[in-house]
């Protein structure tokens, strides 16, 4: 038995730190939030930005049930942050017809994607999956789970900074 315990958090058990201002500073400058709290207080399969750097974004997603299908004109990456999540993939027959190849961020697909099944991955806490360009993907989670997504700010990205960030 190890003398050490690694502290992780999950959507139903998290504890956030905080900011102590010493002088001439504003807590809002740190855009400080907790991704589990964001997921816990989001609707099913909402993708909420928790970090943004120019056009790039990191989203906290509450994966719950079966999500809509998404696609993007670039790679994205997803990390299961607490509970199991399955990601299913379809190779789009004509990805440029589904999403502008110059566009950024994830886009919703209306209905089911047209293409060949690529397979699926079953993720547990800490597992990262590639969401490859040219594919459609969706998440399946039997219980609410937190997924962190490395992406670009796009049409499905929600911005709720004032709701979740320390002020």
């Amino acid at each position: 038995m190890s003398q050490y315990t690694t502290d992780f958090a999950q959507i139903d058990e998290y504890d956030s730190g905080g900011i102590t201002v010493i002088s001439q500073d504003n807590p809002k400058n740190y855009v400080f939030s907790n991704m589990y709290e964001v997921a816990a207080k989001s609707g099913a399969n909402e993708r909420v930005a928790v970090a943004k750097n120019f056009e790039y974004a990191i989203e906290s997603m509450r994966a719950e049930g079966t999500s809509p299908w998404y696609t993007a004109a670039h790679d994205e990456f997803a990390v299961a942050m607490d509970y199991p999540v399955t990601v299913e993939f379809v190779k789009l027959d004509d990805p440029d017809a589904v999403v502008d190849p110059e566009s950024e961020g994830a886009h919703l697909i209306d209905g089911d994607p047209v293409g060949e099944k690529m397979g699926y991955v079953k993720l547990s806490r800490g597992h990262m999956a590639m969401l490859p360009v040219g594919s459609a993907y969706r998440f399946v989670a039997n219980k609410a789970a937190t997924v962190m997504i490395q992406t670009i700010d796009g049409p499905v990205t929600q911005h709720k900074w004032a709701q979740f960030c320390k002020q």
């Binding site: 956030s16 730190g17 500073d25 790679d75 990456f77 991955v121 079953k122 990262m128 670009i152």
Partner: protein, 344 residues
């Protein structure tokens, strides 16, 4: 190091208007200590059994050699990194991406106010050669400046061998994602990356990957937390996944970040496990501004006008998120890069 960046249009910012210095010397080993001394411009570096000494025309700065070597190791490994690497409150480097300023007191309010500061400018690769020679010669057998203090020996004493295997580690820079065919491999016992004792409760199972025939190269996943639990270095962000210029640079942290990193752009931290406390100071003056305490799942942005130093009481997993766009140095030079990432 997490650097992906090169200057986009070849124009290098030089806010102090400094000429490039080209004087570099590696002196023979000292008869008493056995260590070589080094010169870059008018900066002179020497060490003895306990201390590193940095001589400049404005004065000599003394640092404990363990602190100096841990900081020097990061500056070398990170290729001068983004912005400023403060070895301590007095000495450091500022990266202009192709050229670098080396300073004494320039980012210390008292030194600068009294005119006791001194700065010279170098081509990055030339100064890097001197720094690499220094880290190689001054790191003795048994001391690993990348390791947490409990994991390594000490740097004290006269010259006694080297540890070039440790100080010349190759940084991890995945091109797309760790574990993809032809990309950076996952870490295993077999390839020399055992699980760190502080992470021996971290699940090592790999994800289930069910790829249809022909899609094995695209349907890919790996155990990121397991990968981080096997890191043999601390405070050394490495690229694990890439979305254009968006770089996920997770790292394992323990004890104290050996430098105060002065941002020239916004930088995001996502605490994946355990906790880190960050002391935040003004980037120009070093005045304390705030303390940011992060627990698992916390997300915070370091503004572009601060310096920060982290304290991790237990080995923890931190995702450092960088934007390596080559457009950013130009935006910084033109004052168009924001200090704060999000306004709300």
């Amino acid at each position: 190091m997490a650097m992906k960046e090169t200057a986009e249009n070849g124009e290098i910012s030089n806010p102090r208007g400094l000429p490039l210095e080209a004087h570099f010397v590696t002196n023979p080993a000292d008869n008493v200590t056995g260590y070589k001394s080094f010169e870059a411009g008018k900066f002179k570096f020497r060490r003895d059994e306990y201390f590193a000494y940095i001589e400049t025309p404005k004065g000599t700065h003394t640092m404990s050699v363990d602190v100096f070597l841990r900081a020097l190791m990061r500056d070398v490994a990170w290729g001068f990194f983004y912005g400023t690497v403060n070895f301590d409150q007095v000495f450091g480097t500022t990266n202009y991406y192709g050229e670098v300023d080396m300073f004494y007191g320039a980012l210390n309010e008292a030194y600068a106010a009294e005119g006791q500061d001194y700065v010279e400018r170098f081509k990055s690769d030339e100064l890097m050669d001197i720094f690499k020679g220094m880290i190689s010669d001054w790191t003795i057998e048994g001391f690993d400046p990348f390791a947490a203090p409990r994991e390594t020996g000490t740097p004290w004493g006269t010259k006694n061998g080297d540890n070039d295997d440790a100080v010349s580690r190759q940084r991890v820079t995945a091109r797309r994602m760790v574990g993809l065919p032809g990309d950076t491999p996952v870490r295993t016992d077999e390839n020399g990356y055992p699980v760190n004792v502080m992470f021996d409760d971290v699940d090592q199972d790999q994800p289930e990957v069910h790829a249809e025939p022909g899609y094995e190269h695209e349907v890919q996943a790996f155990n990121l937390f397991g990968y981080l639990s096997r890191s043999d270095v601390t405070w050394n962000p490495s690229v694990c996944s890439v979305v254009k210029d968006s770089l996920f640079c997770p790292t394992s942290e323990e004890y104290i970040l050996p430098v105060e990193h002065g941002n020239d752009r916004c930088e995001w931290f996502i605490q994946l496990s355990d906790q880190i406390t960050w002391n935040i100071k003004d980037g120009e003056t070093g005045r304390p501004k705030a303390v940011v305490h992060m627990k698992a799942g916390d997300v915070a942005c370091m503004p572009a006008n601060i310096r920060h130093q982290g304290f991790s009481p237990k080995r923890s997993m931190l995702l450092v998120w960088e934007n390596g766009s080559p457009k950013i140095p130009e935006l910084i030079r033109d004052g168009k890069a924001p200090n704060v990432a999000v306004n709300f």
